[in-house]
Amino acid sequence: MTYRLAPIDTGAFVAERDGDHHTVIGSVVRRSDARGHVTGRTEFFEDVAAPRLAHLKMHRSARHHARITDVDVSGALAVPGVLRVLTHADVPNNVYTVLKLIGVEPDDEPVLAVDKVRYLGEPICAVVAETEAAALEGAAAIEVGYEDLPPVFDVEEALKEGAPLVNEYQGQNYFVYEGHHCRRIRFGDVEKAFGQADHVFEWRYQSSPIEQAPVETTGCVVVPQADGRLRIHSDTQACFFTLDNTALILGVPFNKLRIVGGTVGGGFGGKVDVVVEPIACVAAMAVDRPVKFVYDRAEEMQVSSPRAAERIVIKDAVMDDGRIIGRKVTLYVDAGAYARHSPYGTTKAAAHLPGPYTIPNVWADCHCVFTNRTPSSAMRGFGVTIADFALESQMDRIARALDMDPLQLRLINAYRDGDLKAHRKIAEGTALVEVIQKAAELAGHELPEAYRRMSSTTREGL
């Protein structure tokens, strides 16, 4: 079959596999859900037929940072077809964090804003109506009075003395890790390494937030059952986070909820936060009817949590022969106004440093910072992807500065089995050396004999 692109393994390594026992890798496995997809029979959450379905739309903050002085919902209630307007007072337990069940504290995000808004687009009131159009009209008719507060949009500004406090539940503009103001790595003595180095290179990297942009937007349909339970059809990527957090917010036992999920029209991390289900459940209970809450495309792009913007400063102590003897990293994750999954993402970033290299002196401070931007959260390898962009850009720039082959620079510094990593773990099962060698071969990039003989299992040739 020459037309087939996937699986990928039909080319370079196929000869090496001849006669071996690997019968799974490289063989064709048909997707179990493909037939449903090509016939249109796969049931996404929005395909659920729920009689007497009501629709929920949000009135959202028009400010980045402001005290709420007044909320007037009378305009919404006057719209024909509007059934209910929900405010924070209707939500049994109005404050939560997505990761509270794995011990991430404190609860720092209201389901509906109480006395303050912390980012543009934060939900304030939920309007439930007979039709989507009536819900939208109702949401637009709500009037909120604001008293503006100074916003902060930059991670380093937010950490300065006297910066406006973003999140009162947190109490300061950074997430506290076991009593520390950031995730830290202390290994060897970087300052000594800078003193001994032939070169010191320091560069700064900045990424922007990135929206996952799934083709199916975030949403759910909640159907009250005759037995008093709620059946939640959702496109969440995290059925159990959704079940647990929603039950805690509603103040009901977990067995009062049933999640029907697992069919996700693209997620990429963007559907891990528990954002639409709790309020849709409150609404379904309030009107005792099925309720749908689905983001429109603009909401998906503007208020669903993106990959965090990161700022990363890397300072390296480098010898003439390319050995990196010290690496100091200061990393800032812009969590936006609320924690969501960013404290975890920042920990992942710290765990990933200093990259797949053996460096005897490492110092890192990884800050999870609160600002008045859209809360950021999970997205494909969050914490790691941007760190890798910075680390590997740094490696290329060092190679250029030393007039060295970038692959040779990496081979000299690549970790080997048995090396002690900065986190005081012994590296095992490393394969970076072989991967680089193979990549060089495939790309026709000539490596000198000594580099071709290197191996992940020995320190020979170093």
Binding site: M1, Y3, R4, L5, A6, R30, R31, D33, A34, R35, G36, H37, V38, T39, G40, R41, T42, E43, F44, E46, D47, A49, Q212, A213, P214, V215, E216, T217, V264, G265, G266, G267, F268, D296, R297
Partner: protein, 162 residues
Amino acid sequence: MPSQIVSLVVNGERREFIAAPGATLLACLRESLGLIAAKRGCAQGACGTCTVLVDGRPEAACLVAVETVADGSVRTLEGVTSGGELDEVQSAFIDCFATQCGFCTSGMIMVAEALLDRNPDPSEDDVIEAISGNVCRCTGYRPIVIAIMEAARRRREQAVPR
């Protein structure tokens, strides 16, 4: 303006239903006729997940006011499968791994059907042009282009009398 009765030929069958003024073809298919293969990805004509064929032409059903196509003929993905048998486009999408989450698949298959109906031997550029209004966030498009080329090949082969 009151609601009105709209009549359409959908997948070869005449269907009648009541449509509110301004109701979109997409809403009518999904909510009145229970045909849920066409999806709403954006509701603003930007993503192509709602694509169906109206009198043979691919249209973004989210932008079509249903009364403007009254008495027309509409084809959806449900009408592509006949008697449980997949057609060449559907089976090529499976074989070439052209579907991942599946949300764009209905729209992609419908534009492919329209393309192959008018051009049984498309070039790769023709295929890329045909799917240019359809967003897929999962596959990177390449497997979809390959699947449509493969479907065209299979269809041509079947057309050759043996």
